[in-house]
Symmetry: C2
Subunit: 396 residues, 2 copies
């Protein structure tokens, strides 16, 4: 058989779950992992242990792969270009991926496309942050989202982000004054200032696009963060205005097409108090806000990501249940979750547990649970109870 | 974390799909495979290549496993007893598994339990087959299923089976006369004669039982064979009388309990023209008649098999859709299925394809497809079309 080989760079849980989704598809999976103990390396047959920042390692790894895709966004853009020059399909490609790697590039591009974002500007020092806060032009209704424009002053607090390398709240600061704004500049990397958006909740629009341009949109979900880390996802987002949902899906499909994304694209969104949606972040890989789809959709984000990077026809993204809830399982104080795990299975025979094989450390994502059903309160209670019990914050 | 290691003996597709189901459970999977190319060996990290018929190989493999389970029934009973004596939990254990290994032992035990079976007897030569055919005592309503009893003569055709080693129609003969009955005795192994049951269809009752005695029953399915090989499974069995369905489930649960089965038990059944159910075969592992559960049930047979052998609480076996159909994908004349596969995905975005990574040979099981929905005709048409297209028997 000529079933292809998918090369996955990065051995985290996203790679693990992509492999799981690839098994029924009959594709071969090859993994480039930092260590043999990484989440995905535990469950994949063909593992290369090596450093993705080293071009020779990447080139060796890519030999024998029909396509390269990623568990994370950290592979240097120039390495991806070198692989493409070698004739290896890289999906998403470097020209798309840079928008998920560099928040400055992403904001500039979304501005050019007329996609609404929080007001933002690259800043060079704390005084510049104060100047940004003093400028006018909020991302009000109809107003431009980029620099300039009229309206009220941005004001403090201001959100500061390193343009590269941040995730799960790392590389992000919320500062209330010029004096507080010193920290982000210490690393000497470019910093993006953004208005602190007055949002009522966070949403995510997940889409998958294939090289020949087929695309599917998952229902828009609500994503609840705790301490900057995704905690709960509800699919579909409860009480979301149908027109706004459609607008969010269209926005994500537009971004995927205009940026030439191949594979899964997560568009993290703010829903503002005045009823607008603004783009917060982009991720070009399977995403935490799409984990619900493993048990809640006809085709999971992981299966569709694999299909997309191989340019196979995409699967149906529609939900299989009225409501699906995903709650992340974070490490607690006890390193052994197995007895809690047994308890959760006994309490709820419908519970879908997804463990990542990672050592438990306080606050570390070590798994997630999915629940689904017709009653949202029940679905949420079951997922929260299981995740809390596994973490050790619920003991009965 | 102290998540356990499951040792799987056998590298076929059942092992492959069990590994797939084990990934989200966070368990470690160790495989004993005949070759590095076996279906499961392609997707598992920790593979030992070796011969399961060699006790030293089994013992080496079992070190570091928390439990041993199986992809097939061919491991010699005495080896399993030796592993148990070494202190390794073997699930299902040898005393249970022998009933799936030896049809003579199975029939004798089911007789003793009063479980209805086709009329049967161990036969020693063609003349003995003729004598069996001439004997009275069909497995009529209320009559004994074993030897003796009154009623009409069994008559030809008679079904002859080697008591060990048969599967998918291999090791089974249907003979119309004493003269035709010579073949099965040539191998010099014990042969079981059975009446050819006048059945309207075949059913399967699948149950899963854990060491501490928890058990769950999947809905009874209809199983359609072509040339002795499972072709189509419909879950639940259409138009099955509720009382008969309950009786079949209870029968399977009784067998699981009385034989001390741990893990998945498939009870293949004949539904007779006169409205009875008779046990055809037993399999103590995930089974082709349970593949529908991967997409059609809340918890798949594979996930529940893993949970059972680890003595974890079992998952909900109920269906997620009104109808689920499974059709096996057999190899056709063309070794490359990939372009057909692409076509099937494009035609039906809801189709669930499960490929086993096996080389295509005519008639060989290389995968299966699942479809589900509210309309049985549509569900069946979609599954049959996809399987036929992949095999090459449908070209449009």
């Amino acid at each position: 058989m000529t079933f292809p080989v998918v090369g996955m760079v990065g051995g985290g849980q996203l790679a693990r779950m992509t492999h799981e989704a690839g098994i029924p598809l009959g594709i071969r999976f090859k993994l480039l992992s930092d260590t043999p103990q990484d989440s995905a390396a535990q469950v994949v047959s063909d593992v290369v242990v090596g450093d993705y920042r080293d071009l020779d390692t990447l080139r060796d790894f890519a030999r024998g792969c029909d396509v390269i895709t990623f568990d994370h966004e950290h592979v240097p853009t120039e390495h991806l270009r070198a692989l493409e020059a070698d004739g290896i399909p890289v999906r998403p490609g470097p020209e798309a991926l840079v928008h998920a790697q560099d928040k400055g590039v992403m904001r500039a591009r979304l501005d050019a496309l007329g996609i609404p974002c929080p007001r933002h500007r690259i800043v060079s020092d704390p005084a510049d942050v104060a100047a940004f806060a003093a400028e006018g032009g909020s991302s009000g209704p109809g107003g431009p989202s980029g620099e300039g424009g009229g309206g009220r002053r941005t004001g403090f607090p201001v959100v500061l982000k390193t343009v590269r390398g941040g995730y799960d709240g790392k590389g992000v600061w919320v500062v209330d004054s010029e004096a507080e704004a010193a920290e982000p500049f210490k690393a000497g990397v470019p910093v993006l200032a953004e208005e602190k958006v007055d949002f009522v909740r966070e949403l995510a629009a997940n889409v998958v696009r294939s090289p020949h341009g087929q695309a599917v949109a998952y229902p828009v979900v609500e994503s609840r963060q705790v301490n900057g880390v995704c905690d709960t996802v509800i699919a579909p987002a409860p009480d979301l205005d149908e027109e706004l949902a459609l607008k969010a899906e269209e926005m994500a499909l537009t971004i995927a097409q205009e940026l030439g994304v191949v594979g899964h694209l997560a568009v993290e969104l703010f829903q503002t108090r005045d009823g607008r949606i603004l783009v917060n972040e982009l991720a070009m890989r399977p995403h935490n806000s799409g984990h619900w789809s493993m048990d809640g959709a006809i085709t999971s984000q992981f299966a569709n990501h694999v299909r997309a990077v191989l340019d196979l026809p995409l699967g149906d993204p529609r939900p299989r249940a009225k409501w699906t809830a995903m709650v992340n399982v974070l490490g607690g104080d006890y390193p052994d979750m197995y007895s809690a795990y047994l308890h959760c299975m006994a309490r709820d025979p419908q519970l879908k547990i997804h463990m990542y094989g990672k050592d438990v450390k306080p606050g570390r994502k070590v798994g997630h649970v999915n629940t689904y059903g017709d009653d949202l309160d029940d679905v949420l209670e079951r997922a929260r109870h299981a995740a809390g019990y596994l973490r050790g914050t619920i003991t009965e």
